[in-house]
């Protein structure tokens, strides 16, 4: 007995525990749910067909104040808030929600036993516009009439019409008052009142019969003349080709037929005055759709709209989609370009090769047979800038490879074919490459009349053009080839110097005395002159070089020191020793290197002092000179090695005495 009781108690406890657990297993929200069995009204704030709505689009403060429920019905995801015992309080709540949270057309829905059922209540809305098969954009519609954000406009779809309505009024009088104000404020004379029953649109006469059936509302029945005075009956809209409201709006533009919405059940569409999602509000999206509709049209616009409807989340998606399309097209173009360029390059190379072979044959013929076999005639017949350029190149090529009589003949031919005129013409061209080529041709062929034209470019900002002008000057001014140095304003770089020197060495150029430029303000010109004086061993003007060791520029002094060494100017030894203490490190090193080239016993005392330098290189260079001086120097080195008795020093002595290094 006790056992049975115990068993029962245990059983009851288990059941109780289970029951206590139930609420915990549910989300906390369900705790606050009112009795599911009773009748209640809620306010639908949003709906979306096919997929759940991104919760972000539901205003945050609404979520804070109300619990938003998601329900699924015939493929629609519907979002409702609040609990009201009566339709009227629910309507008040819906108005409050509309005003407070700026929700577009919230409306009342009825639930019995948790099931959504149609509302057996008549209410009225105002239709602003309608469109046959093609949806309009709520935003553009509102923009057109200047309807502010506080007046929500909903889209409803009763195939084949899209209708745009606003408001929700429990009584006809309220709706009429609103309509009057609405017509006045926005000038939409075609707007009219539409009655709704059970959540969807009904014909006007049905609304009247409904009111008669429900006597409680009989006093609200409007008189017929009054009604016809202000509106067209809703069911006559179709006879007006689906146009109500402003005709111009509805018919404007090729609005897109959204075939997908055709399948949506009428009542569901009608029940969907819904919260417009953020993306619908996006001006960018609408801009694109407007663009597609008005500018593109046809199938493309249709597809575009479909893509946008399905994919649009933010501006970035559209931008990136366009970029991807652009990249794809670009890829194809670039690839084709690469292939075509390859083919084109091969073609050009082949063409140049053929032309060169042909012209070479003509030129050889001309060289050996003169004009007898018409080779000159053939050459003269060559027309077109491309061909003449190839010919010029070929003549220049042959000119630099032949000598003696043939050389003269080639030059003569260049003038006879008037290729010099081509070159002069090219120098006036805008492109620096053409100018440079022209200068090169004119200089090679020594067209002296072009010298003044070329001279303009010796200070050009373009390095290549400038160097070419320098080279041309050297070649064309036979009597004074380096006179252009006087006109150089900017730095005469090492590269320019190298090129000018190379030309002077390659061709028979008369070399002037370079001391003429030793007093120039442009240090780089002085340095070049010094280097050239060394190369051409112009020792006559050694005193000028010695003077340069006191030049204000460190670089010039360094070059002068190197020059003294390379020219083996014994007159400069004392000078070098004298300036040594005041020179910077690099120049000191150069002085010792210069002395290495002019070793003299007289330097020993100076060099011994240098072996005490702290710097490794200075010490080593000084020891090298001592070793080079001969037995006197070597003796001094040995003595120093003994005196210092330092391993590092001995290593250096070994280094300088090792002839293999």
């Amino acid at each position: 007995m006790i056992r049975t009781l115990n068993h029962r108690i245990r059983k009851t406890t288990n059941v109780l525990t289970f029951l206590l657990l139930v609420p915990l297993l549910y989300p906390l929200d369900s705790m606050a749910k009112p009795d599911q069995d009773s009748l209640l009204y809620r306010v639908q704030v949003a709906a979306r067909y096919g997929q759940p709505l991104n919760r972000d689009v539901i205003p945050e403060n609404l979520c804070r104040d109300y619990t938003v429920y998601e329900g699924q019905h015939l493929g629609w995801f519907k979002y409702t808030v609040g609990y009201a015992p009566s339709f009227d309080s629910a309507l008040r709540m819906s108005r409050y929600i509309s005003d407070e949270f700026l929700i577009h057309s919230p409306f009342v829905v009825k639930y019995i036993f948790g099931e959504r059922i149609p509302i057996d209540r008549l209410y009225y809305k105002i239709q602003i516009a309608a469109s046959y098969k093609k949806p309009l954009y709520v935003r553009s519609l509102k923009r057109k009439y200047g309807i502010g954000p506080y007046i929500p406009v909903a889209e409803e779809y009763y195939p084949p019409y899209y209708r745009y309505t606003t408001g929700g009024f429990a009584s006809y009088e309220e709706a009429r008052a609103f309509l009057r104000d609405f017509r006045r404020d926005y000038g939409i004379d075609g707007a009219f009142i539409v009655p709704y029953l059970n959540g969807h649109r009904i014909r006007e006469q049905d609304s009247v019969s409904y009111l008669i059936d429900n006597e409680a509302y009989i006093n609200r029945l409007p008189s017929r003349p009054e009604m016809s005075e202000v509106e067209e009956p809703a069911d006559t809209v179709e006879t007006h080709e689906g146009i109500s409201g402003d005709t111009a709006v509805v018919m404007a533009g090729d609005t897109v037929i959204r075939e997908d919405t055709m399948d949506v059940p009428v009542e569901e569409r009608a029940g969907g005055p819904r919260l417009a999602e953020k993306d619908e509000e996006d001006p960018f999206r609408e801009g694109i759709r407007d663009f597609l509709d008005t500018r593109i049209g046809g199938k493309i616009a249709e597809w575009g709209s479909i893509i946008i409807d399905h994919s649009y989340k933010s501006i970035l998606i559209i931008v990136f989609s366009f970029v991807v399309c652009f990249l794809l097209i670009n890829l194809v173009i670039v690839f084709l370009f690469i292939i075509l360029n390859k083919i084109h390059r091969e073609y050009i190379n082949e063409r140049v090769r053929t032309l060169r072979n042909k012209y070479q044959e003509y030129l050889t013929n001309y060289l050996f047979n003169g004009e007898e076999n018409g080779s000159f005639r053939k050459l003269e017949m060559i027309r077109g800038s491309f061909k003449r350029q190839v010919l010029t190149d070929e003549i220049l090529h042959m000119y630099s490879n032949v000598s003696g009589e043939a050389d003269v003949k080639m030059r003569e031919l260049y003038f006879r074919l008037k290729l010099d005129e081509d070159s002069v013409r090219k120098i006036h061209r805008y492109r620096w490459t053409a100018k440079t080529r022209a200068i090169r041709e004119l200089a090679r062929m020594n067209v002296t009349r072009a010298a003044p034209l070329i001279e303009k470019y010796i200070n050009s900002k373009n390095d290549t053009l400038r160097i070419e002008a320098h080279i041309a000057m050297v070649r064309m001014h036979k009597d004074d080839p380096f006179s252009f140095l006087d006109k150089i304003n900017d730095e005469f770089t090492r590269w320019e110097q190298l090129n000018v020197h190379a030309i002077a060495r390659l061709y028979d150029i008369s070399i002037p005395s370079f001391n003429r430029w030793f007093d120039r303000d442009n240090d780089s010109v002085v340095i070049f002159a010094l280097r050239m004086a060394v190369i051409y061993q112009q020792t006559d003007h050694y005193s000028d070089i010695l003077d340069l060791t006191s030049h204000p520029s460190e670089k010039v002094r360094k070059e002068a020191i190197i020059a003294i060494g390379n020219m083996q100017l014994r007159e400069g030894i004392s000078r070098l020793i004298l300036i040594y203490p005041t020179e910077p490190y690099n120049n000191q090193l150069e002085i010792l290197k210069a002395l290495y080239k002019i070793p003299e016993v007289s330097e020993i005392e100076f060099l011994v002092e240098r072996t005490r330098e702290e710097d490794f290189d200075l010490q080593l260079e000084a020891m090298k000179v001592l070793n080079k001086i001969g037995w006197e120097g070597q003796y001094v080195l040995e003595e120093l090695e003994k005196r210092y008795n330092d391993e590092a020093f001995s290593r250096k002595v070994k280094h300088v005495t090792d002839k293999r290094i």
């Binding site: 989609s321 970029v323 670009n330 690469i338 292939i339 390859k342 070419e468 190379a502 005495t657």
Partner: protein, 486 residues
């Protein structure tokens, strides 16, 4: 809105901004490159490099090649170096304590003997055991330095100490240097005006599958190896589109260790190569730039787009992975050492532009990518992914990368068009389509591994990598190549 939500939004905004920035940066660099390349090629048409060959105006250059266990190729490669076209140059081979017969074979081949060379340790290095010169006068410009093993940077420093010329070229002894490389690299130094050129870099190309005889390139072919082909795309993009632009903007921070010409004075004054890092090539350039900026001297780092150096790239995942992880560690190390540059207006464009670029887009790019990937997987698992957006962005990234590669192929075609066969270009194009799928994930993984090794495993220096150091993969592949040839 909860804190997590706020963080999520900020993170997503950051990622998209980052991606757009990096894409815009690449486009910007590519556009600058077009102009630089065009100008260079046009100018080059009128340049006669031969005039430099015997000119007393050309600067003197030491070619420093560190060698570690290169016995198979060293003799051949030294010969190639000695036959470079230049007037006043010497070749300094630094045997970095090889434990094979590298030194012996060079000694035998070039009739070397030890000389009493007193080395000026301007830059501190490991002990130099001996310096060798040839008894044969025709090799008088060859110096071989035998030293204790100390890594590539240390070997290069020893070479700088021994070098007796004004400029030095650092090369990998196993790369093939084009014979006119010195002429082309030296030219920018001679063109300098008020701005001193402190270094010039050259373009590195891929030598896999090319025909090489006697240390010289005979015929250029597209690599046969799958991995090497992807690297062709990578190198073309990096050199023709990236570095060219950076040199124009005077913001170049990296001159590849395989070939670069440096001003010896500046390099030794700022302390030479830093032996404790794996990214010694980049570190030196940054330090030289810093030195010049600190001393208020105007300077520039130049770049030559000609393909001057051909090198064998790794063709196995293992070696490539190690190389990439090392590159990443090198980058991080350099950025860490020179963190003072970060948005420092004192260092001009380097501080405001190049350094932040390297920081954000070279070092952080794989990190951000990895974080983004993990984040995406997470939200996809939770079902919160916006798939449409994902596919659109994925499409964008994919096509952007292909477009970029295609443009690199275009640049190559319009400039040096070294791959003559039409089919080669087509193959490269095809490879650019699969590169983001098949090759990029590995690159990403190795970069992350580099970060992991650096920060977590604490591998900062060459560490135990030194033993199979800088030339390891090359000597192996070269050996294969030789076998194939023989």
């Amino acid at each position: 809105m909860s804190t997590i939500e706020t963080i999520r939004i900020i993170f997503e905004k950051f990622i998209i901004t980052y991606a757009i920035c990096i894409a815009l940066f690449y486009i910007f660099l590519a556009i600058v490159s077009v102009f630089v390349l065009r100008a260079y090629l046009r100018r080059n048409r009128f340049v006669d490099y031969e005039v430099m060959l015997s000119s007393p105006f050309a600067p003197s250059i030491s070619v420093i090649a560190p060698a570690y266990n290169e016995e198979n190729t060293i003799v051949e490669n030294v010969r190639a170096l000695l036959s470079l076209f230049y007037h006043d140059f010497e070749v300094v081979i630094v045997n970095d304590g090889s434990n094979d017969h590298s030194l012996q074979w060079v000694k035998d081949a070039y009739d070397l003997e030890k000389v009493d060379f007193a080395v000026n340790y301007r830059i501190e290095t490991r002990e130099i055991r001996g310096i060798y010169k040839s008894r044969n006068r025709s090799f008088s410009n060859l110096i071989v330095v035998d030293k204790q093993n100390g890594g590539k940077a240390d070997a290069l420093n020893a070479g700088i100490n021994v070098s007796g010329k004004d400029y030095f070229v650092s090369i990998d002894v196993d790369s093939i240097i084009s014979s006119d490389a010195l002429l082309k690299l030296a030219k920018p130094f001679m063109e300098a005006k008020e701005r001193r050129i402190i270094a010039t870099g050259g373009v590195i190309r891929i030598a896999n599958s090319c025909v090489i005889e006697g240390g010289e390139l005979v015929s250029i072919r597209l690599p046969g190896s799958f991995l090497a082909k992807f690297q062709v795309l990578e190198y073309t993009r990096a050199f023709l589109m990236g570095r060219m632009a950076w040199s124009k903007l005077n913001g170049l921070l990296l001159i590849s260790g395989a070939l670069g010409l440096f001003d010896k004075e500046v390099a030794s004054k700022c302390g030479g190569y830093y032996p404790k890092t794996v990214g010694e090539d980049m570190e030196l350039v940054v330090r030289m730039r810093r030195y010049m900026a600190d001393n208020n001297k105007p300077y520039r780092v130049a770049y030559v787009p000609d393909p001057l150096c051909w090198t064998e790239v790794p063709s196995t995942f293992r070696v490539l992975g190690r190389q990439r992880s090392r590159w990443t560690r090198g980058t991080i190390d350099t950025l860490r050492i020179h963190r003072k540059l970060f948005f420092n207006p004192r260092y001009g464009r380097m501080g405001l532009f190049s350094y932040p670029y390297w920081f954000f887009f070279e070092w952080l790019a794989p990190v951000v990518e990895m974080v983004g990937l993990c984040y995406f997987i997470l939200i996809a698992l939770f079902g919160a992914a916006n798939w449409i957006f994902f596919f659109i962005i994925l499409g964008f990234v994919y096509f952007f990368s292909i477009t970029f590669s295609t443009y690199a192929i275009l640049y190559e075609e319009l400039t040096f068009h070294k791959y003559e066969k039409k089919w080669d270009v087509f193959r490269l194009f095809l490879y650019s389509w699969i590169e983001p799928i098949l090759f990029h994930p590995f690159i990403l993984f190795w970069a992350i591994k580099g970060n992991f090794d650096y920060f977590i495993a604490g591998k900062k220096g060459w560490g135990n990598m030194r033993r199979d150091g800088f030339g390891e993969f090359n000597s192996k592949t070269l050996r294969k190549r030789k076998k194939g040839k023989g």
